[in-house]
Symmetry: C2
Subunit: 120 residues, 2 copies
DNA sequence: TACTCATTTAACTTGTATGTTAATTGTTTA
DNA sequence: TAAACAATTAACATACAAGTTAAATGAGTA
């Protein structure tokens, strides 16, 4: 799995407009102008969001006469899901180990640091 | 769940350096200089990545003497996981419906007549 | 053909992300 | 106390993200 592909997937998901577009497409295919309706941004801005989603392989576009039909590519979420699922589990295990360690320290740690990190 | 929080989480995950830092931290706590070792970027750049991760609540930092100890916050992945899991399932259902639609046009179905696959 | 509609591209503006080096803060140690 | 070390902040450069308006492209229709 390519790092860049994950980069693109996560970056595409980091925008609320794009997540909303994906949520709409989950209910079924749609044309660009329908996807644009809920948003107060220009048509070119929508086109750019769709470009980002397409480059991330999250959607597919095809011409349909005068229109352009958009639909989801459900496989594209998989890589991101796998990364998250794997790490979520791994993190929990890491924390279980930390718990054990804190409950039964094999040797005394440094004394408690009673200081907050400095805030600016 | 807040949109902005998801924004921050996904944006933080969109960078390979930050994902590598998280992967390292999954193996256990670490000080900043240890986290910085694998990367050919300056210390301030690492600090900025850690700031992004902290603002996304993916990590926690605390001073430990001369050092600063970093560890994961495993809960922070949850919102992103939930979004992805929900949508991944929803997308699949969406595709199942599409399949049904393609396989069962309005006329009574004829079980052994297979339609051609979707055109590209 | 000319007109209209859907969408994209071009050109530009603005804000944010990511990196740098130099200086600063806070802690440990000689 | 002075020097060394860890990490951050300051100040700056550059690249990219995301929005705008105006023009171009491609398809349907009078």
């Amino acid at each position: 799995m390519s790092m860049r592909r994950l980069d693109r997937t996560f970056a595409a998901l980091a925008d609320p407009t794009r997540r909303a577009i994906l949520a709409r497409l989950a209910a079924g295919e749609a044309m660009v102008n329908e996807l644009a309706k809920p948003f107060a941004i220009s048509a070119p801005a929508i086109t750019r969001h769709l470009n980002v989603l397409e480059r991330a392989a999250l959607i597919v576009r095809e011409r349909d006469g005068q229109f352009r039909r958009c639909r989801l590519n459900p496989q594209a979420l998989q890589a991101a899901r796998e990364w998250l699922d794997f790490h979520a589990r791994f993190w929990s295990e890491s924390f279980d180990r930390l718990d054990d360690h804190l409950k039964k320290p094999s040797k005394p740690r440094k004394p408690h640091v009673d200081r907050e990190p400095k805030r600016r």
